[in-house]
């Protein structure tokens, strides 16, 4: 491989009682890449994320970030869910600086950065607003900025746009690609939406349940930058049918 490996999983397994949530899985994620993970419910996507985030201790195997073993250790990744999890009692600015507040004193640099990021990505007018005053899309953007300013090289995004309407979701996908291009982070992106996984990623991991495992690792042939035309590109259609076959069996 030409690029550096940021995240490496070796034979990572997670079991809950009798259920193998994640069968032994090995993965290598290149620094700066955008990797999408698709699969039905119960395929172990979120388990995989929780193991990488350090919320779950794997039964066996190694999780290595930038060469360091981080099994069961938190504080190493950015993490974002479908629920924006903004705290209602803090303003947008204070929500963006949340990670700092949870680990140390919030400095002026933290606040300045929060403001800079908010201005840069179109929420500068709303720094003093409480989350209740924002729309769903704006709230998800704030949640993403909060993830961004943790300065973690690896961002785990678990269906971040799953609760948004189709129109807002398209806007947010474009926006995410812009931010990703400008910040050079590595993104692992869980989604149910096959179109979304292809539209955003360099690489798609298809997962399957019972036991949860990666059944296909597809290198996305779709060129960048991605536009609305990408959605009708022959490469797009080809990859989509490949994934659909994997998810729903051969005859589809």
């Amino acid at each position: 491989m030409s690029s550096n490996i940021l995240l490496r999983l070796r034979n990572v397994e997670k079991v809950f009682g009798d259920t193998v949530a994640l069968a032994p899985t090995s993965l290598e994620i290149a620094a700066g890449s955008f990797v999408a993970i698709v699969g039905p419910s119960g395929c172990g996507k979120s388990t995989l994320f929780n193991v990488i985030a350090g919320l779950l201790q794997p039964e066996q195997g190694e999780v290595e970030l930038d060469g360091r073993l981080i099994n069961g250790a938190t504080g190493h990744v950015g993490y974002m869910l479908q629920k924006d999890l903004l705290v209602p009692w803090r303003t947008v600015e204070d929500n963006i600086t949340m990670a700092a507040r949870l680990t140390r004193r919030v400095t002026n640099d933290d606040r300045l950065e929060a403001r800079r990021v908010a201005h840069q990505y179109g929420l500068g007018e709303f720094l003093r607003h409480y989350p209740s005053a924002l729309s769903g899309g704006m709230r998800q953007r704030v949640a993403f900025m909060r993830t961004l300013v943790t300065h973690q090289p690896l961002l785990l995004l678990d269906e971040p746009f799953g609760a948004l309407d189709a129109q807002t979701r398209l806007e947010m996908q474009q926006w995410l690609l812009q931010v990703w291009r400008e910040t050079g982070r590595t993104v692992l992106f869980i989604t149910h939406d096959v179109d979304e996984s292809i539209f955003l990623s360099d690489r798609i991991l298809v997962m399957s349940p019972r036991p949860g495992r990666v059944v296909a690792d597809i290198s996305n042939p779709l060129g960048r930058p991605r536009t609305f035309d990408s959605l009708t590109d022959p490469h797009f259609v080809e990859v989509k049918s490949q994934i659909m076959r994997l998810l729903h069996g051969g005859d589809q």
């Binding site: 993490y79 999890l85 705290v87 303003t91 680990t103 606040r111 300045l112 003093r128």
Partner: protein, 274 residues
């Protein structure tokens, strides 16, 4: 803004005026004798004419109410937090707490006097006894319903349990905490009066009323009741006011002021740091 003040202050005031009017009408229309039920104005006058005697007693009742409220609130908050954090204690202590509220408070007063004498202490204890319970129950409930995804998110960021508690769990419990405090505030005066009835040797608002009652000074009896009610309502309103100040996000969409003053890009405050 004007309309809101009218709605929030004017309408409740109007309902009180309406209540007094109905009272007045009933007394007048049914020719009720003043020693059975005075007219509102008579009750108010009974209080104002004897205000110099009443005022120190009122202060005494306020003191018992406020002290008891704070002791009860603090105790209630602590118990709620401890029980939420230590599940074994929750199972152990909860039945005792329920038991404590099942005991008729009047029955409790007599032994309290034996133990604590006739000082302000037994009244404070009775008020605290009433106030802590709704606070504990609400705080416990609030803490057990904090979004676990939010707690996990804090964990992923590398937050310690203490920071998570201070930054996530406690703020998330503000609303239930104030629900408990408001319930406690409404009952606090009742507790103080019960304490005064059972545990006063000298003078107190409750004894003043008893004295008026035995003298068939019904106007003073009603007047004193009104004074007690006013103390209760005032304390409740103060707690509501504290809640409004403590939870600006419940009413506002934009924060009144951010901590702009403490940032280097704000000139005036770089020169004059706080």
């Amino acid at each position: 803004m004007k309309r809101r003040v009218l709605r929030n202050v004017g309408v409740p005031l109007l309902s009180i005026v309406l209540l007094l009017t109905i009272w007045q009408l009933i007394v007048v229309v049914f020719h009720i004798a003043p020693y059975i039920a005075p007219r509102p104005w008579g009750a108010i006058r009974a209080v104002t004419t004897d205000w110099s005697t009443l005022w120190p007693l009122v202060l005494g009742t306020i003191r018992e109410t406020v002290y008891g409220f704070f002791v009860g609130a603090l105790l209630g908050l602590s118990l709620g937090v401890i029980m939420a954090k230590v599940k074994v204690l929750q199972r152990l202590v909860y039945p005792v707490l329920v038991l404590s509220q099942a005991v008729p408070i009047i029955a409790l007063a007599a032994p309290l006097v034996l133990i604590l004498g006739f000082s302000v202490t037994p009244k404070v204890v009775i008020v605290a006894w009433i106030v802590f319970f709704p606070v504990t129950v609400n705080v416990l409930d609030g803490l057990s319903h904090v979004d676990q995804d939010l707690v996990n998110l804090a964990k992923v960021y590398g937050a310690s349990r203490w920071r998570t508690f201070l930054q996530i769990e406690i703020p998330a419990t503000t609303t239930p905490l104030f629900s408990g405090l408001k319930i406690g505030a409404t009952y606090a005066v009742t507790g103080a009066i019960i304490g005064e009835l059972a545990a006063s040797s000298g003078s107190s608002l409750a004894l003043y009323q008893e004295h008026a009652n035995s003298n068939l000074n019904t106007a003073a009896v009603y007047g004193t009741t009104m004074v007690m009610t006013v103390i209760g309502i005032s304390w409740f309103l103060l707690v509501v006011g504290a809640e409004v100040l403590a939870t600006p996000w419940q009413r506002r969409s934009v924060a009144r002021r951010q901590r702009w003053r403490r940032t280097p890009d704000d000139r005036t405050n770089v020169l004059n740091p706080k």
